[in-house]
Assembly symmetry: C2
Homo-oligomer: 380 residues x 2
Amino acid sequence: MSVIFDASFSRFGKRVEGIIDLSAESALPLVRKYGKDIDFIIVSNSYSGEYNGISGINNLVSTRLSLDSIPSVRVDNTSGSGGSAILMAHSMIEAGVAQNILVIGAEKMTSYPTRKSTSIIASLLHPEERAAGLSLPSLAAFMTKAYLQEFGAPRESVARIAVKNHHNGSLNPYAHFQSEVSLDEVMNSRIIADPLRIYEFCPVSDGSVSIMMTSEENASSMSGNYVEILGTGAASGTSSISARQSLTSIESVKRASELAFRRSGVKPSYVDVAELHDMAAILEIVESEDAGFFRKGHGWEAVMNGETEITGSLPINASGGLNSKGHPIGASGVAQAAEIFLQITGGAGRRQVKDARIGFSLSMAGFGNNATAVVYGGAS
Amino acid sequence: MSVIFDASFSRFGKRVEGIIDLSAESALPLVRKYGKDIDFIIVSNSYSGEYNGISGINNLVSTRLSLDSIPSVRVDNTSGSGGSAILMAHSMIEAGVAQNILVIGAEKMTSYPTRKSTSIIASLLHPEERAAGLSLPSLAAFMTKAYLQEFGAPRESVARIAVKNHHNGSLNPYAHFQSEVSLDEVMNSRIIADPLRIYEFCPVSDGSVSIMMTSEENASSMSGNYVEILGTGAASGTSSISARQSLTSIESVKRASELAFRRSGVKPSYVDVAELHDMAAILEIVESEDAGFFRKGHGWEAVMNGETEITGSLPINASGGLNSKGHPIGASGVAQAAEIFLQITGGAGRRQVKDARIGFSLSMAGFGNNATAVVYGGAS
């Protein structure tokens, strides 16, 4: 069994620092505490070549951390990189290949204008669909229209995700956005991909998050709290959106979640706190159904009823989610795990979910091309 | 214990195909044989963003292979990506996170002129050294001068690596270069970074190689031959070349090799066939010493004596090495493992090393920023 025993954050947002300094910002506090014990570094990062003009980021970061002698690797799975990095760290620990792994998720994206950014990220789409002009925002718009029509959900249910997550972000000192928005503000904001408006998309952000992982055996001999990885699940769906059976369900999310729940012996109803991949607001609703928390077509009701608020029965994206916290691509999946660590160990401050014991995170690549689900529990 | 139970190659060279089709070329024969059993795909690739303008290569490749539903990830460690990918696959299998992993190493590099290519790859250097105009070829030139001076080695000993490896490549139907070169031709070829000449560097190549890995338990129930991963070692040195103690030894190679030998219980003297990272000819000599095959400063003698030829006591780079086979960055480390698989299972054709039972590979990132060593053995 692998565990997470510490986490460290940089502020997400438009940052002046470069990718290496940003990576170091969240990693250094952990290096100061555990430096001599760290025996492997995994850097979760997707676009350091395209955005920052560097390669071998893992080696440059370890040099920056004065951990030159520690082996490292970069793990990339676009927006789902963080989940994949945790899966790899978990595997290395379970296999005994490494004992104490520093996982750093980092991305520096604001150096380019949003239009260029969207184009770079669209390079993960199926070539034919990319050539047809599709982008991730336009896919989210299709999904929204299909969902509202198929399940008779009110338009506001999607906007309420943005309201909830901006509220949560206002309680998170590391979030990109630190202020609330009203339903009116969301509904009257600029249209990005009809019907979705700007507040319903995550911003383009810079930032990094780092966590420490080890075996439960090691962790139990330490003094601090830790959170166990009870189960993981990775699954993929087709990169071709037009080849999918449904526009209102994501196959990779369903299968990754089922696998993680089966392996952990935990049922979705046991989960106290979840972090989902809300790159666009509609995704939080669809994923909350595909992960098994609500019946298909009923996730929107949970939003309207306040069930997914911090004070609700299943708080989703208490961190603010990608929507408000920001989405530095390689950092997001690691940030989810870091948030669950804080929630289960009682360190989430003003956004603390009461009695959080079982956590769940869903890190997703592209528009559901690939997903990694993790079930967490058992803080000691 | 994890094992390699099959391997498949594309021809390396200047290829017209794009990165996705190139990846599929080596992977499809394995997908046809094992498709239904594959439960994870690792793509070893460094520069698909920079060279090919795509991201999420792992998802695009799995869609191309009609393995959409199989989870995947990209592993990057620049030139050492292949070694890292094998380390990750090994960990996932040992941890029971995956059972049958398809590891695809691929890179498409010839779309840009060599000068631009060298500049992209120099983006892995320490920023200050990169700013000072250093590149991988110039570092290899420094190392060559230092080695020749420190150990009184003749200039020809370095050139002989190119002669040997081009001979070996002429026996490898998948090698970029398929013809021999004479010592005179090497010594009179164009200077790239004084004193090193063009034949002493690997070419810029496109290509892919795929291998299948599983647990020994699974493999023993199959009909075919397989090769065990007896031990792995990963280690790093500083990215800053000027901060290194020696220019004629690579710390990461020493420590990675020691670790792999210790974990496997194998001594360097037991090794029958080795694949080293000869991006520049001098590196083969330096690594052959750092890996423990020859005493420091004596590797050049082994070359002069023919000990590292296919018919010698320790054949090195029977495949032709990066020098002649080519160096599609993400593919090279996987190609090393594939070569060792062929050698130990007796499938290496005209370049077959007699009675090869124990193998060794050394996959290196940058100019020794990071290295992964693997010890192989026990074909059944």
